[in-house]
């Protein structure tokens, strides 16, 4: 059976559609593959420019998967292809066993999506934004009204229920967008920089909520520029740069593989950092010179600092810390995550 799918065609037989989807989920989703999302050689071109270049990954159900990369790496483009809203230029993609290009509505009905840019309807009230969005999933008002109140509480926006979205602060809008993505109780949540613009308290609350969703079995796919967020939330991370995957693994494994145990940060003042860097050669395993400081990668920060002093150099400030994903990132891309 190969039905032709026509948007909004009143002749479209919903029963045939439902059963068809169920069949393909069974045959491809559970029997053939344990993954809820599979991308192989996924590519996206805008004209001559390749935004996503042949990337492959598989995400099992319940995993929390992070895409990390500098601005323009192709994270949002990847998310939009997974979300079934952007046509890929090459490769294969399957969400719950379905190709989003053929089964867009079926794929999207499984997802909750938090786009990088909020796109709430600012003319509608806060609560109505949630209800209207739920209607797109065919959900009845009898379900949506209590659900909207519950989500507002979740997003700590209950007092703002009757306000226009226009009157919310940036962080509140972000929280509302996140609440909106949960209206259909999605089993897969796509979060493109979910906490950008949130204050620290709201971020921690959101992490807590995401953690609970994860515990309940929700698959999370998220992009972030915050290393602590990635370390807290992600089971597995891929680092992307210029549309390619540079590395993949759990946060701890990535740090082990691409960085040393400790990092010594020394500052000599912005004019001198570069010149002093040469004199630091040989201390630790590796040094990295940034405009405002020099990073010395070593397993023993104290000893490295002693050695710096022994060479007659006295930094203005020095700091020994554990390696983080930030260092992995710097190592892999030569760039800082937050430009």
């Amino acid at each position: 059976m190969k039905p032709q799918l026509v948007w909004g065609n009143p002749l479209w037989d919903s029963k045939a559609c439902t059963s068809l989807v169920r069949v393909s989920i069974q045959t491809r989703g559970s029997a053939a593959s344990p993954y809820v999302i599979s991308a192989h050689n996924l590519t996206k071109k805008y004209g001559d420019f390749t935004a996503v270049d042949n990337i492959s990954f598989d995400i099992p159900a319940g995993e929390s998967f992070g895409l990390l990369g500098p601005n323009g790496a192709g994270k949002s483009t990847t998310m939009r292809m997974i979300g079934g809203v952007s046509q890929r230029s090459g490769g294969t993609l399957s969400i719950m066993g379905l190709d989003p290009e053929k089964y867009g509505p079926e794929v999207r009905s499984h997802l909750g999506v938090v786009p990088q840019q909020d796109n709430l309807d600012e003319e509608l009230k806060v609560r109505d934004n949630l209800i209207v969005y739920g209607r797109y999933f065919g959900l009845p008002l009898s379900y949506l009204k209590p659900k909207a109140d519950e989500l507002l509480e979740f997003a700590q926006l209950s007092e703002k229920a009757g306000a226009k979205v226009d009157d919310l602060s940036g962080g509140m809008k972000r929280r509302l967008t996140i609440a909106r993505s949960l209206v259909n109780d999605p089993k897969i949540l796509l979060l493109d920089e979910p906490t950008t613009g949130l204050d620290p308290q709201a971020r921690h609350i959101l992490w807590d909520r995401l953690f609970r969703l994860k515990e309940a079995g929700t698959t999370l796919v998220l992009t972030t520029h915050y290393m602590d967020e990635a370390e807290q939330l992600c089971d597995r991370i891929v680092v992307v740069d210029k549309g390619r995957i540079m590395a993949e693994g759990s946060p701890a494994a990535l740090i082990r593989q691409y960085s040393t145990r400790e990092v010594l940060e020394v500052r000599f003042g912005s004019e001198r950092n570069a010149t002093v860097a040469a004199e630091l050669a040989g201390i630790g395993e590796r040094t990295e010179t940034l405009p405002d400081r020099v990073l010395i990668y070593t397993d023993d920060g104290e000893r490295a600092l002693e050695e710096v002093a022994a060479r007659g150099l006295s930094p203005l400030t020095s700091l020994i810390r554990r390696s983080s994903l930030e260092d992995v990132f710097l190592r892999l891309t030569g760039r800082s995550l937050i430009d």
Partner: protein
């Protein structure tokens, strides 16, 4: 979270969205319109009153006193009313098919929210069209009712002009929607549409005087203008203005064809632009 479970499976949601998605988006459009419903209603009562008094009653008294024959044997108000109803519909359509489209794609990107849901871009386009059609039917019916109160719609079929006027709005509005959905920035196009298209159409579509009284080199405006076709039809329906049947068919077909072409193009442009 402890609430009732979602009453639909994802597959059921998708099936409903495939069938009814356009209506779901129309519902959204109408909810947004409800936020300015009061001003729409005030406008839809105020405009006809102002026009009918000023032009109809004031101007008509003057014109009718100086030889009524020019308007096919009916008084000027009766001649004018179908044109006013159709042009009011066309003008509300102009706004509704320009600004919300730009808002959806560009200003506040409101189309991209529903795009992440099971709705398809073509359904978003259709939903907007459905919503605006309903939004135009209401004030057009009000306008017509006020025309009736002024005694300027004598024929038994005059009410059908509510629908021909709405068709006029779509015939003009849907190609406009297709055009606006290709725009990536607003550099004065909206003002230009109002000034160089809507206003001339309003003035030269046989609105205030029969098209035939225009110099021949301006009459093509009428033939291209949905407003002229709707006005002529409105006159036939309202007071039995005599016109060959084939011309009536041309009026309807012209408006239908342009409306359908605009809708088909809009669907395509939405699909292409949102799927990039």
């Amino acid at each position: 979270m402890t609430s009732a479970p979602v009453p639909l499976t994802p597959a059921q949601s998708a099936a409903k969205a495939r069938r009814l998605g356009s209506w779901y988006f129309a519902e959204h459009t109408l909810r947004v319109m409800r936020t300015y419903a009061a001003s729409v209603l005030m406008y839809s009562v105020g405009t006809p009153l102002a026009y009918l008094f000023a032009m109809g009653v004031g101007l008509a008294a003057l014109i009718d006193a100086n030889g009524a024959g020019a308007f096919g044997g009916v008084d000027y108000l009766t001649f004018l009313a179908p044109a006013l109803v159709a042009s009011a519909a066309m003008m509300s359509a102009t706004g509704e098919f320009m600004f919300p489209i730009m808002d959806g794609f560009k200003w506040r990107r409101t189309f991209f929210g529903p795009h992440a849901s099971p709705l398809a871009p073509a359904q978003i386009a259709q939903g907007h069209i459905i919503g605006v059609t309903i939004r135009i039917l209401v004030p057009t019916a009000i306008y017509f009712a006020i025309v009736v109160l002024f005694g300027a719609a004598p024929g038994p079929w005059a009410w059908v002009s509510i629908f021909t006027a709405t068709l006029c709005a779509l015939s003009f509005g849907l190609p406009l929607m297709a055009y606006v959905s290709t725009l990536t920035k607003d550099s004065g196009q909206f003002a230009a549409v109002q000034r160089f298209i809507v206003t001339p159409l309003f003035l030269f579509s046989g609105t205030f005087f029969p098209l035939a009284t225009l110099p021949w080199f301006l009459q093509w405006i009428g033939w291209l203008s949905p407003l002229w076709h709707a006005t002529e039809l409105g006159r036939v329906l309202s007071y039995g203005y005599a016109e060959p049947a084939w011309l009536g068919a041309v009026h309807v077909l012209y408006m239908l064809a342009t409306a359908v072409a605009g809708a088909v193009l809009s669907r395509r442009i939405f699909t292409r632009r949102m799927g990039a």
